[in-house]
C-alpha cells in the first residue's frame, strides 16, 4: 500500500514544480534562521552564527537536489521536458508539420478504418452475443459447391452424434407480414431453435428468451421475441409489450421478450426484426408442408467444446457425413458437412467483407509505409538543417543517446498528432462499405469506434514513429563535430549519405505506389469483366417486386385470378413491354434452387436413381420479359391450365445432358410423379453467380400447373423502370390491400447485389492507390526540392559559366527520371508479386494483361513528372547572383 501511495504522490509531485520549489526554499531558510538565532543566543557573532548554521545543515544545494529527485519522478520530468521541447521545435516548422500530419494522418486513418471493418467482421461481429468468435457454422457442400443449407434432420443428427460441440442451434430468416391489428408490414423474421438465445447468451431487456421446450412440438408455441430496433420503431419502446398479440402471416403470436439493443441475429450484416421457434415454421409457410420433415433450409451453428480446433471438428464432420450419406441422404452421394469459423460463415456479408479486409489490409499497410517514408525523408532533410544545433549540443556534453531520445520524442509527438487526425479520418470513412454497396442494400455492421479501435490507433501511431523516426534520429546525430560547426562547409560525406538514403526511400515509394496502382487496376479489370459478362438475360429496363399471397391470406382460386389480372393490368400500361411472375430471380441473393426428383424418358441415369434438378415456376411471357432467348419451341401460355396437358421448359444444359442427339421438344419427363411434355428449350443463363459455367440443368414449370403463394413480378419497361414503381404497387395492392409489396428494385440493382464485395473492394482499392500515388508524389517532390535547394550555389556557378535555364531544368528532370525509372523497375517486380498474392485470394482474377502493368508504370511516370514541375522551374529560374550570395 505504502509504496503505491508514495509512487502516486511522486507522480503528482512531478507536475507541481514552481510552488513546491518556493516552499522548500522557505522551509530551509526558516530552519537555518532558527539555528542562527539559537547560535546568537549562545553568544556567537551574527555572521559566525549563520556560517555555523549553514555548516551544521550541510550542502544546501546538494540536499535540494536530492529532495527534488525524491519529490517527483525524474524520468517523467525528462520526458515532459522532451515533449515540451519537441512541441516548440515542431511549432517552428509549420509547413513540415502540416505535410507530415497530412501524410501520416491519412496513413494511420485508413489503417484505422480498415481496422474498424476488421473489428466489424472478426473481432466483435455480433453485438449482444457472448463470445461470438467461438461460434462455428456448419454448411452442406456438394462436390465443389459449398455453403448450402442443412435440413432439420441434420441438426438432430449432429446433436446426437457430435462429441465436439457443447451446443448446436439452428436459424434461418424469412420475410413475414407482421401486423398488430392496425396495419401490416413485411419484416425480416428469424426462425430459430429453442436453445438459440441460451447458446448465444443474448440478454433480454424485457421478458425472456425461448425455453427449449417451446420448440418441441409443431404449432404448439406461437411465441415471439422482439428485436430492440423493431420494439423502438414500431412500438415506441412500450414497456407493457410482453403478452401483446401480434400476427405473422395472419397467425397470432404472443410477445414474450425483447432482446438487447444491438442484437440483430447471427446472419452477418443483415438485420432480423424478431425471432420465433423453429416448430412454427410450418404454420408460417404453406407451400413446403412440414419443413422440419423435409427440405434443406436451415443454418446450423454451435459452440465447440473448450480447446477443440476447427480441424478436429471437420474430421469429425467427415465421419458423420459418411454416416449421413448411408443413413438418410442416400440420394446425395456428394453431400459433405463443412465447418467454418464465424468470419467465414457462408451466409450473410461477413465472410465476403472479411476476404476484402484481408486484401485491403495489405493496401493500407502500403499506404502507411509510404507515409512513413515521406516523413522519414523529410526528417533526414531536416538533419542537414539541424546539424549545427545538434553539434553544439553534442559539444556541450549531451550524450548521443540523449539527443536521439529527444529527436525520437519529436517523432512520437508528430505521430500522436497524426493519430488524432487519423481518428477523424476513420470516423468519417468507416461506413464506406455501406456507401459502396449500392442502393437498396442495407448492411448492418458493427462499425462503432470503441477502445479496441483507439488502442489500435495508438499502437499504429507509435509503430509508425519507430519506423519513420529512428533512422533519421540516428542519422541526424551522426556528425563530424568539426565539420558541422564550420558554417556552410557542410559535411560532404554526410550529405551524400543522406542523399542516398532519401533517394532510396523515394525509389521505394515509387515502387510501392506502382504496385498499389497495378493492384487496383487488376481489380477494376476484374469487376468490369464480371459486369460485362453476358448473363444470358437482359437486366436493363426491368423492374421487380415480391409479394406473398399466403401472408395476405389469399386462397388458391383467388390467387390464380390475381396472378392473371395483375399481368393483364400491367401490360395494359403504355410504358410496359411485358410482365410475368416467377418464383426465382436469377442472380439474386436468395431463394430458388429447389430441386425436384425427375425421370427423363429414354435416359438411364448412371445409378438408376431419379435425377434431382433445379426447378422454378413462371407464368407466360417470363422468358421474353427477362430477355432469355428461346432456342426451340414456345413459352408457356395461359391456356396451359391446370386441366390441360402438363408441360415444361428446360434449358440447353438439360437438353444436352439428358436428351443427347434427340429432339427435346415433345420429350416426356416425370417431375414429382407427373409426366410432362417439353414444349420449349431456352439458352442457359447465369443462375446465381457470374462465375462460369452458367448453370447446370434446370427446368421451368408453368405457375398455372404448379401454384405458388410466393412470387416475384418482373416488368420490362420501355422507359426508366423506376417510373413504374407506383403503377406496379397499384397493380398488386389494387387487387387486395393486404398483399405485401417488398424488394422493389430494378433488375440491374438486383444483379449488382452479386457484385457488392468486388465493388466495395475495387472502389476502395482505387481510392487507396490514388492516395498512395499522392504520397509518393509528395515524397519525390520533397527530395527534388531539397536537391535544388542544396545546389543553389552550384547552379549559380553553372549559370555564371554559361549554363542555360533549360540545362538546369534538365538536371533536375534527369534526377527525377533516374529515381522514377529505378522505382518503376522495382515496382514491376513488386506488382507481379502483389498480383500473384491477389490471384490466390480472389477466384477468377486474371493477372496476365500486360497493359495493366504498363498503365501502372504510366500512372507513376505522370505522377513523377508532375512532382518535378515546380523544382525544375525553381532551378531554371535561379538567379546566379542570389544563388551565390545565399552561401
Amino acid at each position: 500500500m505504502k509504496p503505491l501511495r508514495r509512487a502516486w504522490r511522486r507522480f503528482l509531485g512531478t507536475f507541481s514544480g514552481g510552488r513546491r520549489e518556493n516552499e522548500l526554499a522557505a522551509e530551509l531558510e526558516a530552519h537555518i534562521e532558527m539555528q542562527t538565532e539559537d547560535n546568537v543566543r549562545l553568544g556567537m557573532s551574527p555572521e559566525g552564527a549563520r556560517r555555523a548554521a549553514l555548516l551544521k545543515f550541510g550542502g544546501v544545494e546538494s540536499m535540494k537536489e536530492r529532495y527534488r529527485d525524491q519529490r517527483g519522478l525524474p524520468q517523467l520530468e525528462t520526458l515532459a521536458q522532451d515533449v515540451r521541447f519537441a512541441v516548440r521545435a515542431l511549432a517552428k516548422r509549420p509547413s513540415f508539420v502540416v505535410v507530415s500530419i497530412f501524410s501520416l494522418g491519412i496513413g494511420i486513418g485508413v489503417n484505422a478504418t480498415v481496422f474498424t471493418w476488421f473489428k466489424a467482421v472478426y473481432l466483435n461481429p455480433l453485438p449482444g452475443v457472448r463470445e461470438a468468435r467461438k461460434l462455428v457454422t456448419i454448411s452442406a457442400a456438394y462436390r465443389n459447391a459449398e455453403g448450402y443449407s442443412n435440413s432439420y434432420a441434420d441438426l438432430l443428427y449432429f446433436r446426437a452424434h457430435s462429441r465436439l460441440f457443447t451446443n448446436l442451434f439452428a436459424h434461418e430468416m424469412q420475410m413475414l407480414a407482421l401486423s398488430d391489428g392496425k396495419y401490416a408490414e413485411m419484416t425480416n423474421g428469424g426462425i430459430v431453435s429453442g436453445n438459440y438465445f441460451n447458446v448465444l447468451g443474448t440478454p433480454m431487456v424485457l421478458g425472456r428468451g425461448f425455453r427449449p421446450e417451446e420448440d418441441e412440438a409443431l404449432d404448439r408455441n406461437p411465441v415471439l421475441v422482439l428485436g430492440y430496433g423493431l420494439w423502438q420503431r414500431r412500438f415506441a419502446g412500450d414497456p407493457n409489450i410482453i403478452g401483446r398479440r401480434l400476427e405473422l402471416n395472419r397467425i397470432p403470436f404472443t410477445v414474450i421478450g425483447v432482446a438487447a439493443p444491438g442484437f440483430i441475429g447471427v446472419y452477418g450484416g443483415i438485420r432480423q426484426d424478431y425471432w420465433v421457434p423453429l416448430h412454427m415454421a410450418r404454420a408460417l409457410d404453406s407451400e413446403h408442408g412440414d419443413r422440419l420433415a423435409s427440405g434443406s433450409w436451415i443454418q446450423i451453428m454451435g459452440r465447440a467444446k473448450r480447446g477443440v480446433a476447427l480441424a478436429a471438428i471437420q474430421s469429425e464432420l467427415d465421419v458423420l457425413s459418411a454416416q449421413i450419406r448411408r443413413d438418410y441422404r442416400k440420394d446425395d452421394r456428394e453431400y459433405r458437412a463443412v465447418a467454418y469459423p464465424l468470419h467465414r460463415a457462408q451466409r450473410g456479408f461477413h465472410s465476403g467483407i472479411f476476404q476484402m479486409v484481408e486484401i485491403l489490409a495489405a493496401a493500407v499497410a502500403i499506404i502507411l509505409l509510404l507515409a512513413c517514408l515521406n516523413v522519414a525523408s523529410l526528417l533526414i532533410a531536416r538533419a542537414t538543417d539541424r546539424a549545427r544545433e545538434i553539434s553544439v549540443r553534442l559539444s556541450l556534453g549531451a550524450s548521443r543517446g540523449r539527443i536521439i531520445r529527444q529527436l525520437f520524442t519529436e517523432s512520437v509527438v508528430l505521430a500522436a498528432l497524426s493519430g488524432a487526425a487519423g481518428l477523424l479520418i476513420a470516423y468519417w470513412t468507416r461506413s464506406v462499405p455501406n456507401m459502396l454497396s449500392g442502393q437498396g442494400i442495407e448492411l448492418y455492421l458493427n462499425l462503432g469506434i470503441d477502445w479496441t479501435v483507439i488502442g489500435f490507433l495508438f499502437a499504429v501511431s507509435f509503430a509508425a514513429a519507430v519506423v519513420f523516426g529512428l533512422l533519421p534520429a540516428i542519422e541526424t546525430t551522426r556528425l563530424n563535430l568539426v565539420d558541422a560547426l564550420k558554417e556552410g562547409a557542410g559535411s560532404v560525406t554526410a550529405g551524400r549519405r543522406r542523399h542516398f538514403w532519401r533517394s532510396s526511400l523515394v525509389v521505394g515509394q515509387v515502387a510501392l505506389s506502382m504496385a498499389a496502382l497495378v493492384s487496383a487496376a487488376l481489380f477494376a479489370q476484374h469487376l468490369v469483366k464480371m459486369l460485362r459478362t453476358d448473363l444470358g438475360f437482359k437486366p436493363q429496363n426491368v423492374l421487380t417486386a415480391e409479394t406473398d399471397l399466403f401472408a395476405a391470406g389469399m386462397n388458391e382460386s383467388r390467387g390464380r385470378v390475381f396472378y392473371r389480372s395483375a399481368i393483364d393490368q400491367l401490360q395494359a400500361l403504355p410504358h410496359v413491354a411485358s410482365a410475368a411472375w416467377t418464383t426465382f430471380l436469377p442472380m439474386s441473393g436468395s431463394g430458388g434452387g429447389h430441386r425436384r426428383k425427375m425421370e427423363v424418358q429414354g435416359y438411364a441415369a448412371p445409378d438408376g436413381k431419379p435425377l434431382s434438378v433445379v426447378v422454378d415456376t413462371i407464368t407466360p411471357g417470363f422468358l421474353r420479359t427477362l430477355g432469355i432467348q428461346l432456342v426451340a419451341g414456345r413459352e408457356f401460355e395461359w391456356s396451359d391450365e391446370k386441366t390441360a396437358a402438363p408441360v415444361m421448359i428446360v434449358n440447353e444444359a438439360f437438353a444436352g445432358l439428358y436428351l443427347k442427339s434427340r429432339e427435346p421438344l415433345g420429350a416426356a419427363v416425370r417431375v414429382d410423379g407427373t409426366w410432362r411434355t417439353i414444349v420449349g428449350v431456352h439458352r442457359d443463363y447465369y443462375y446465381r453467380t457470374p462465375i462460369p459455367p452458367p448453370q447446370g440443368p434446370s427446368a421451368f414449370l408453368p405457375m398455372t400447373q404448379d401454384y405458388s403463394t410466393h412470387a416475384i413480378v418482373v416488368v420490362r419497361t420501355k422507359t426508366d423502370p423506376s417510373l413504374l414503381a407506383v403503377p406496379l404497387r397499384q397493380a398488386i395492392q389494387g387487387f387486395d390491400a393486404n398483399l405485401p409489396v417488398t424488394g422493389m428494385m430494378t433488375m440491374e440493382e438486383n444483379v449488382g447485389y452479386q457484385f457488392i464485395d468486388t465493388k466495395i473492394v475495387t472502389g476502395t482499392l482505387i481510392l487507396f492507390a490514388d492516395i498512395a500515388s499522392i504520397l509518393a508524389a509528395i515524397g519525390l517532390y520533397g527530395v527534388l526540392a531539397t536537391f535544388v535547394n542544396q545546389r543553389r550555389s552550384e547552379f549559380g556557378v553553372r549559370t555564371a559559366l554559361g549554363a542555360t535555364p533549360s540545362d538546369l531544368r534538365s538536371m533536375v528532370l534527369f534526377q527525377s527520371t533516374r529515381l522514377t525509372l529505378i522505382g518503376v523497375a522495382a515496382g514491376l517486380l513488386l506488382s507481379v508479386a502483389c498480383a500473384q498474392l491477389l490471384q490466390s485470394m480472389l477466384e477468377g482474377l486474371s493477372t496476365s494483361n500486360p497493359a495493366i502493368y504498363a498503365a501502372g508504370a504510366l500512372g507513376v511516370a505522370i505522377m513523377a513528372t508532375l512532382s518535378a514541375v515546380v523544382p525544375s522551374r525553381t532551378a531554371a529560374r535561379m538567379d546566379p547572383i542570389v544563388a551565390l550570395r545565399y552561401e
Binding site: K2, R5, R6, E23, A30, E33, M34, G59, S62, M63
Partner: protein, 113 residues
C-alpha cells in the same frame, strides 16, 4: 552506498516518528534539535539529511505537513504524526526492539564461546 543510505534513512525515519509522537507538531529544526538532544549530541548529523526523510514520510502518508508560526513568531512548516504514522511507529518500534535484541544476543553469544 545506496543501501547504507537506505538504512540510515530508515533509522532516521523512526527517530522522526518517535519525536513527533513525543512532542506533537514540530518543525524540521525542532525535530533536528530534539534528535541531537536525545542522543546527547552523540549523533551529530547534517540537518539537511532530515528533509528527504520528511518528504518520504509525507509521501507515504505517515506524517502530514502544514505551515504555522514558531515560538519566535517565525513562519515554519510543521509536521504532525498521522493515524497511519502512529501505526507505523508502533510496528517499527517493535521490529527495531526485536532486531536489537537478536543482535545483542548474537554479540553476547560470541563473547561466551
Amino acid at each position: 552506498m545506496k543501501d547504507k543510505n537506505d538504512v540510515w534513512q530508515g533509522t532516521l525515519a523512526l527517530m522522526v516518528l518517535k519525536t513527533l509522537d513525543a512532542m506533537g507538531p514540530q518543525h524540521g529544526y525542532g525535530i533536528a534539535r530534539r534528535i541531537e538532544q536525545i542522543s546527547a549530541d552523540r549523533l551529530a548529523v547534517n540537518h539537511g539529511t532530515l528533509y528527504p526523510v520528511l518528504l518520504k514520510l509525507e509521501q507515504e502518508g505517515s506524517i502530514s505537513a502544514k505551515w504555522g508560526t514558531s515560538e519566535n513568531n517565525r513562519k515554519a512548516k510543521f509536521y504532525i504524526l498521522t493515524k497511519s504514522g502512529r501505526k507505523q511507529l508502533e510496528s517499527e518500534t517493535r521490529h527495531w526492539l526485536e532486531t536489537t535484541e537478536i543482535i545483542a544476543r548474537f554479540i553476547a553469544a560470541r563473547q561466551e564461546s
